[in-house]
């Protein structure tokens, strides 16, 4: 029997992923052996340490990427500049949102329910209201983040599919663990799971089609087949469409966005922040790689279709955001619209489009995490008060937090001196350079529409009288304060001094095939 030839494995390149998966396994052991009273602290410190360590190894790798050492473990993973940037961005955003997971001062026991299976409203449910929340969320978040790292560096569609599952499954689970409004939370988890399973099936079916077309699933083989194949392109187009549906579902592009408002509303707010920043970044990282590395030869086929999807996404997100009365749903529709703006940059199809999309992902991530951190502060006896009418007059009660939220909303709206302006400016500029002016026209129009719901919240907070039912703003603990601080400062800094990150994104915007 011939010897089995193992592929070369460059452990240094895989280290960030391995650290996260390893720390998650240690976290599982901690669940078994560390006393409940200190478990939250131990898990939080372990997770943060793992992320920092992974980030250090990503940074150390930064200058060493060459065409020879980028692909590793049999070509399944491609650590090129773009992959490294995405890994770093995911780790930083994940780090910030994980701080929210650890917050225990706003609510006794934290934002997560201790025993999710206890019947809602039962005697036992009231008893567990003061219990310390489930700490399994930390290993789950680490598994998810590890999967995302693999997702953005996957160099073939099969690895990408496995990574998609690894990062999605923990998210479905975490959505079901909200301490308050548990029925809503469970509903959101089930919806997300079922629709996510559908999307995965589409993705997998698409992979099968593309295998039939290109006789391989790695991006180089696909690229060569797209350029030089005599097979009819029907298989290619159907396969690409199905794969794109799977990815568009994850970035919440219309018409595959229907899960977004329900899931964002039902999930525990820290998880919502994690999803809004990291899932979006990971899915865009993968979409960029699929379209730019694998299918750039089919650009003329997919650009008009994806352009239509982008326009629809922007319109749906902006118009439906106007009609929302719940703040988390409003932010969800804003996230849908932002997916549209990101797609505008992506469809620019040039190097600027790539780098501006990367910049947008990071800038939007910081802002959205800070926004959800603030949502978790405004609460009454029933938990978070997310209905818009409850926020009326908040500016009188606590000018500082209302001020911060106003600033974040202005950043979403794209007012100059915020990161939102620089980000939108970048993607629109790239699209014009790439002859996609029609997308920019829709982008600007929907931005104007989208400014309305943001400004309505601002007006309500500052110009209405606080009513009987206006809840108070809780004093945030250290962790939430840190998140708010980091998010707000990043939003301001990236608006005033975007240079360093732009330069970084510019250097990162190259793939190795």
């Amino acid at each position: 029997m011939p010897e089995l030839k193992l592929p070369d494995i460059d452990y240094a390149a895989l280290l960030p992923m391995l650290i996260l998966f390893g720390a998650a396994c240690v976290g599982v052991l901690i669940e078994g052996f560390v006393p409940r009273s200190v478990r939250n602290m131990v898990q939080l410190v372990l997770s943060l340490a793992a992320m920092v360590a992974a980030l250090v190894f990503v940074i150390r790798r930064a200058g060493e990427v060459t065409a020879e050492n980028a692909a590793t473990i049999g070509g399944a993973i491609m650590i090129d500049n773009m992959g490294l940037f995405m890994e770093g961005a995911l780790l930083v955003l994940g780090l910030v949102s994980l701080l929210l997971f650890g917050e225990r001062t706003l609510e006794r026991g934290g934002a997560f329910v201790p025993h999710a299976a206890v019947t809602v409203g039962s005697e036992r449910d009231r008893e567990q209201a003061v219990d310390s929340g489930a700490t399994e969320v930390y290993p789950l978040a680490l598994f998810s983040l590890g999967g995302m790292l693999m997702f953005v560096t996957a160099n073939d569609l099969l690895t990408m599919f496995v990574a998609l599952e690894v990062f999605s499954l923990p998210l479905y689970l975490m959505c079901a663990l909200a301490r308050r409004k548990r029925l809503l939370s469970q509903e959101s988890a089930l919806k997300y799971f079922l629709l996510g399973a559908y999307a995965s099936a589409f993705f997998l079916f698409g992979v099968a089609m593309i295998y039939g077309f290109a006789k391989g699933v790695d991006f180089r083989a696909i690229h060569e087949a797209v350029r030089g194949s005599e097979t009819s392109p029907t298989l290619l187009l159907i396969g690409l469409a199905l794969v794109a549906i799977g990815l568009l579902f994850k970035i919440a592009a219309a018409p595959f966005h229907v899960w977004t408002p329900d899931v964002y509303q039902g999930a525990p707010t820290p998880v919502t922040a994690f999803m809004a920043a990291c899932t979006k970044a990971a899915a865009f990282g993968a979409l960029l790689r699929v379209l730019y590395v694998g299918f750039d030869g089919a650009k003329w086929h997919f650009t008009p279709v994806l352009g239509a999807v982008a326009v629809l996404t922007m319109l749906v997100g902006a118009v439906l955001a106007v009609t929302q009365t719940d703040l988390k749903r409003l932010l969800a529709y804003s996230s849908v619209a932002n997916a549209g703006y990101l797609m505008v940059g992506l469809l620019g199809g040039n190097k600027d489009g790539l780098s501006s999309t990367l910049f947008y992902l990071v800038a939007y991530g910081f802002t959205v995490i800070a926004a959800f951190a603030l949502v978790s502060l405004v609460r009454d006896a029933d938990g978070e008060a997310t209905h818009l009418s409850r926020w009326a007059g908040l500016g009188r009660r606590s000018p500082l937090f209302a001020g911060i939220f106003t600033f974040l909303l202005l950043a979403f709206a794209g007012i100059p001196l915020t990161s939102g302006f620089m980000a939108k400016f970048g993607v629109f500029g790239a699209a014009i350079a790439g002859d996609q002016t029609w997308l920019v026209i829709f982008g600007v129009l929907t931005s104007i529409v989208l400014a309305f719901p943001y400004l309505r919240v601002v007006v309500m907070m500052w110009l209405s009288e606080p009513g009987e039912t206006t809840p108070s703003v809780s004093i945030p603990g250290v962790l939430t304060s840190a998140v708010l601080g980091i998010g707000t400062v990043a939003t301001l800094l990236l608006g005033v001094l975007p240079g360093p990150l732009l330069e970084l994104a510019d250097q990162a915007s190259s793939f190795i095939r």
């Binding site: 998650a24 049999g74 219990d131 999967g147 693999m150 690895t159 690894v166 663990l177």
Partner: protein, 165 residues
């Protein structure tokens, strides 16, 4: 047309027919048993294509484990068992979607592959599968175990009622 072509077509028809029965029957348990026929027929297809290992894995995992799991789930959640007409949907849209997808895919494959010779690789022996999994696809394979671990933890978190408080 060779004997193996005829056999492939015949077994394929059995698989499709049984699959139709899975979705048409009103009894959940019968749907599960029809599924055995479908999956078994697919195993026979693998055998006819000389992929013995894949065939036996199909029998062990799908016919054995998955269907048993399915029947257990029915037993645990929907006893007593009888016909459940409430699970049926109007026939029209279902026919449209099912027939549309089926015919569309068949047309597509016939159209794309009808006049093309595809070089068939060596048959799917256990050795070749092992080489593929542990040499070419070792990372996805290992990471799948991470996925299973995450799923296990999730199942425990979601279903645990009493904690050691």
């Amino acid at each position: 047309m060779t004997v193996s072509d005829v056999l492939l077509t015949a077994v394929g028809l059995v698989a499709v027919g049984a699959a139709l029965a899975v979705v048409m029957t009103e009894h959940l348990v019968r749907a599960g048993l029809w599924l055995v026929v479908t999956l078994g027929a697919i195993a026979v297809e693998f055998l006819l294509l000389r992929a013995e290992f894949a065939a036996w894995v199909q029998v062990l995992i799908y016919v054995g484990a998955v269907v048993v799991l399915l029947l257990f789930a029915v037993m645990l959640t929907r006893a007593p068992i009888g016909p459940s007409p409430d699970l049926d949907r109007p026939l029209g849209p279902a026919l449209l979607v099912g027939a549309g997808t089926g015919l569309g895919l068949s047309t597509l494959f016939v159209w794309v592959f009808a006049d093309r010779q595809v070089a068939v690789p060596e048959t799917g022996s256990a050795q070749r599968l092992g080489e593929a999994i542990f040499a070419d696809w070792v990372l996805p394979f290992e990471v799948l175990s991470v996925l299973l671990l995450a799923a296990l933890i999730g199942a425990i978190v979601l279903s645990r009622r009493e904690g050691a408080s």
